[in-house]
C-alpha cells in the first residue's frame, strides 16, 4: 500500500491558563512589552465595551446584541496583526478586531440600535472593511473575491474573513478556501471556534478532530491555536499574512476559544450548556493569563488596571452619549441607498412615504 497524503495539524500556544510561558521562542512583537500592554489594554476595552452593550440592551437602548465575551484574544490578535491596507470581512461579533481597525463603539451601538449608519464606519482602515455579515459564512466568499481583486491588480494586500465553528460547516466557507487554494489567493480564514453555534455543540458540526484540517483539503496552510492566548493568535496570524502577501497562498487558522456569554441577548445558554463547563471555561479565559504574564514582567499592576478601566468607562460613556444623541435618519433614507440613483418608479413610493410621514407629524 502506498500513501497518497498525510497531514498533521500543529497546535500553537505560548501562554497557559495561568499566564505561564510554555515556549521560549517568543515572537518579536511579544518581546516588546509596551506593545503587549497596548494589546492588553485593547482587550480590556473590548470587554468593557461588550459589558456596556449588554447593559444597553437590557435597558432597551439596543436591539438584539451578539456579545464577544471571551473572544478578546482571538479578535485583538487578528486585528493587530493586519496591516491597514488589508481587508477584514467579519461576522457579527468581531468587535475586538474591528476596534483595532478603527470602528467606533458608537457605530456598533448604532447598528444594533437599528440604524444602518452603524455600518458606515468613519475611520480608516475599518472604512474599507466589510460590514457585519449576518448570514453565516457568506462573508468568507467576499474575502476570497477581495483577495482575487488584489491578485488581479497585483496589490500586496490580504483579505481576512472570520467565522464561527458553526460557520465552518457551510459550503460558503469551503467554497472560499477552495478557490483560495485553487487560485493561490492572498486570503486568511480565521475560525473562531467558541464551541457553540447557538445550542449546537462543536462535535455536532463536524466529525473532524480539528476544524483547521478543513484547510488541508483546500490546499491551504492550516493551524490550530489557543484562541485565548493572544501571542499564539497574533503569531499564527502574522505568519499567515506574511505568506499571503508573499504570494505563498492562503491559510486557515482555527482559534480555539469559548463563548462565555449567551449566543446573543435573545438567547439563554443555560438551556443547553452545563454550569461546570462554563466554570471550566472561565478558568482559561484570555484576559487573566495575559494580565498575569504582564504583571510577572513588571509592566502591569492593579493600579494600572483600575486606571485603564476607568478610562474605558469614560470612553464608552462618551460613545453611548454620542449614540443616544444621534437623530433617527429621515424616512427617505430607506429609498436613498437602494440604488445609486432613485429610479423613477421608486421615486413615486418615496414621495408617498414623505407625504405619509408629514401627515403623521
Amino acid at each position: 500500500m502506498s500513501i497518497a497524503a498525510k497531514f498533521e495539524i500543529e497546535y500553537l500556544q505560548y501562554l497557559d491558563a495561568e499566564g505561564k510561558q510554555v515556549r521560549d521562542d517568543l515572537p518579536e512583537f511579544a518581546k516588546d512589552l509596551n506593545h503587549m500592554v497596548e494589546l492588553y489594554k485593547l482587550m480590556l476595552s473590548t470587554r468593557v465595551f461588550d459589558a456596556k452593550s449588554v447593559a444597553l440592551q437590557r435597558t432597551g437602548k439596543l436591539g438584539t446584541y451578539a456579545s464577544c465575551l471571551g473572544h478578546e484574544a482571538a479578535h485583538v490578535g487578528v486585528g493587530s496583526a493586519m496591516k491597514p491596507e488589508d481587508v477584514l470581512a467579519p461576522s457579527y461579533r468581531e468587535y475586538g478586531a474591528q476596534l483595532y481597525r478603527g470602528v467606533q463603539p458608537r457605530e456598533v451601538y448604532m447598528y444594533w440600535g437599528g440604524d444602518e449608519r452603524g455600518n458606515d464606519y468613519q475611520n480608516e482602515p475599518a472604512r474599507h472593511d466589510f460590514a457585519w455579515s449576518v448570514p453565516i459564512a457568506t462573508q468568507c466568499l467576499h474575502a476570497a473575491g477581495s483577495a482575487l481583486a488584489f491578485k488581479i491588480r497585483n496589490e500586496k494586500r490580504v483579505a481576512v474573513c472570520m467565522i464561527g465553528d458553526g460557520g465552518s460547516s457551510k459550503g460558503d466557507f469551503y467554497g472560499a478556501i477552495n478557490i483560495t487554494g485553487a487560485q493561490n489567493l492572498p486570503m486568511v480564514a480565521v475560525i473562531v471556534n467558541n464551541q457553540w453555534a447557538i445550542s449546537v455543540p462543536r462535535k455536532i458540526q463536524s466529525g473532524a478532530p480539528t476544524l483547521a484540517q478543513k484547510g488541508i483539503a483546500a490546499g491551504l496552510f492550516s493551524i490550530q491555536v489557543d484562541g485565548n492566548d493572544i501571542i499564539a493568535v497574533r503569531k499564527a496570524m502574522e505568519d499567515a499574512l506574511d505568506r499571503a502577501r508573499n504570494g505563498e497562498g492562503g491559510s486557515v487558522i482555527e482559534a480555539v476559544t469559548y463563548r462565555l456569554s449567551d449566543h446573543t441577548t435573545a438567547d439563554d445558554a443555560r438551556r443547553y450548556r452545563g454550569e461546570q463547563e462554563v466554570k471550566d471555561a472561565w478558568a482559561k479565559e484570555p484576559m487573566v493569563r495575559l494580565r498575569n504574564w504582564l504583571v510577572a514582567k513588571g509592566v502591569w499592576d492593579d493600579a494600572k488596571e483600575e486606571a485603564w478601566k476607568a478610562e474605558c468607562d469614560d470612553w464608552m460613556d462618551n460613545e453611548v452619549n454620542a449614540y443616544l444623541e444621534t437623530k433617527t435618519q429621515p424616512v427617505t433614507a430607506m429609498f436613498d441607498y437602494t440604488f445609486a440613483e432613485v429610479p423613477a418608479d421608486l421615486a413615486k413610493q418615496r414621495d408617498l412615504v414623505i407625504s405619509l410621514d408629514k401627515k403623521a407629524h
Binding site: T138, C140, F150, K151, A344
Partner: protein, 326 residues
C-alpha cells in the same frame, strides 16, 4: 458592418468593455478556454488572460460570493451562471449581499456586478436547463433585472449593465441566441436601462412581453394586422425598476392589454404588470387584462416543452378575446 447573432452581441459587448475598462473581469464555469458552453465568452481569455477571464471551481455559491467580493473592491465582475436552472445556489449571495450592501452601508460599499445567465426553454435541453425564473429576482430590492430580446439590445443593454453602479441580473433568452442576425455596430454605445422599448406602434391592443417571447409577440402582431387589428408591442427589457409609464401610456391609447411571459403564471412578473394596470389604468381598460404564460408546472422535458411555452396562436387568441370583450 458585420451581421451578428444575439450571443455574438454578448461576446462583442464583453470584449468591448474589457478592452476599455481594466476593472471588468469575467468569471464562471468553463468561461475560459472553452468560451462558455454557449460560447458567449469565446476568445476572451486569449485576449485578456486567465485572471480577467477566470474559470472558477464548480460552485455557483463561490461564483456569486466571489463576484460580490470583487465588486466591493471596485472591480466590475461579470459572472456567468451556466444555466438559469443552476442559479438557485447564487441567490443567497445575490439577495443577502449584492442587492443590499449599498443600503446596508449607506453607500460605503457598492456592488457594480453583473450576473449573466442563459435563460428559458425551447432548446431541447436536459432537466434544470430551461428555467424561466426572472420573477424570483424582480422581488428583490436593489437589483436590476434585465432581459434583451435582440442582438442590438443584447449589446447595448449588456454594456449599460456593466457600467451600471448597481448589481444587474442579465438574463439571456437562449432560444433566440442564434435565431437571426442583425447589424450591431461595435461602437460602445449603451442602451438605456429602466426603459421599455416600443417595438411596434398600434392602436387596438397592447402586447407586453420580454426576452424570447418578443418573437411570438411580433408574429402575433403580424397575424393580427392581417385581420385588420393594430397591435402595439412593448419589450419591457428592464423588468425592475419598471418603466410602467410606457406601458400605461400604451394601454391608455389601446384600452386593451395582453401580457406574455414564459415563466409560470402565478406570481410571475405579468401578475405585477396586471396589478399595476388595475391600480392605475382601471378606467382606461376596455377589457380584462389577458395573460399568456407558462403554466404553474415544471417546464416539461422537450417532447412537451413547446406545449408549455406561449405560442403565437395563444397570443393572437388572447388579443382577440380582449378585443371581443365589449
Amino acid at each position: 458592418m458585420a451581421q451578428i447573432t444575439l450571443i455574438e452581441a454578448v461576446t462583442q459587448a464583453l470584449a468591448y468593455e474589457m478592452a476599455h475598462d481594466d476593472s471588468v473581469v469575467v468569471l464562471g464555469e468553463d468561461v475560459g478556454v472553452n468560451g462558455g458552453v454557449f460560447r458567449a465568452t469565446q476568445g476572451l481569455q486569449e485576449k485578456f488572460g486567465e485572471l480577467r477571464v477566470l474559470d472558477t471551481p464548480l460552485d455557483e455559491t463561490t461564483i456569486a460570493g466571489v463576484t460580490v467580493g470583487l465588486a466591493a473592491q471596485g472591480m466590475k465582475p461579470v459572472a456567468e451562471a451556466q444555466f438559469e436552472g443552476f442559479i438557485y445556489p447564487m441567490m443567497e449571495q445575490i439577495a443577502c449581499h449584492a442587492a443590499r450592501l449599498r443600503n446596508r452601508t449607506r453607500g460605503r460599499i457598492t456592488v457594480p456586478a453583473v450576473w449573466r445567465a442563459p435563460w428559458g426553454g425551447g432548446i431541447r435541453a436536459p432537466e434544470h436547463h430551461s428555467e424561466a425564473n426572472e420573477h424570483l429576482f424582480t422581488n428583490i430590492p436593489g437589483l436590476r433585472v434585465v432581459m434583451p430580446s435582440s442582438p442590438a439590445r443584447a449589446y447595448g443593454l449588456l454594456l449599460a449593465a456593466i457600467r451600471d453602479p448597481d448589481p444587474v441580473m442579465f438574463f439571456e433568452p437562449k432560444r433566440i441566441y442564434r435565431q437571426y442576425k442583425e447589424e450591431v455596430p461595435d461602437d460602445g454605445e449603451a442602451l438605456p436601462l429602466d426603459v421599455c422599448f416600443v417595438l411596434r406602434d398600434g392602436t387596438d391592443v397592447t402586447i407586453v412581453t420580454w426576452g424570447a417571447q418578443v418573437k411570438e409577440a411580433l408574429e402575433a402582431a403580424d397575424a393580427l394586422a392581417e385581420e385588420g387589428i393594430s397591435a402595439e408591442v412593448i419589450d419591457v427589457a428592464t423588468l425592475t425598476p419598471l418603466d410602467f409609464d410606457t406601458i400605461a401610456e400604451s394601454v391608455q391609447k389601446t384600452g386593451r392589454c395582453v401580457i406574455v411571459h414564459e415563466a409560470p403564471k402565478t406570481a410571475g412578473f405579468g401578475a405585477e404588470i396586471a396589478a399595476r394596470l388595475a391600480e392605475e389604468c382601471m378606467y382606461d381598460l376596455l377589457a380584462p387584462v389577458e395573460r399568456v404564460t407558462g403554466f404553474d408546472t415544471h417546464i416539461p422535458l422537450f417532447r412537451l416543452e413547446m406545449k408549455y411555452l406561449p405560442s403565437t396562436e395563444r397570443v393572437v387568441e388572447a388579443a382577440k378575446k380582449a378585443l371581443a370583450a365589449s
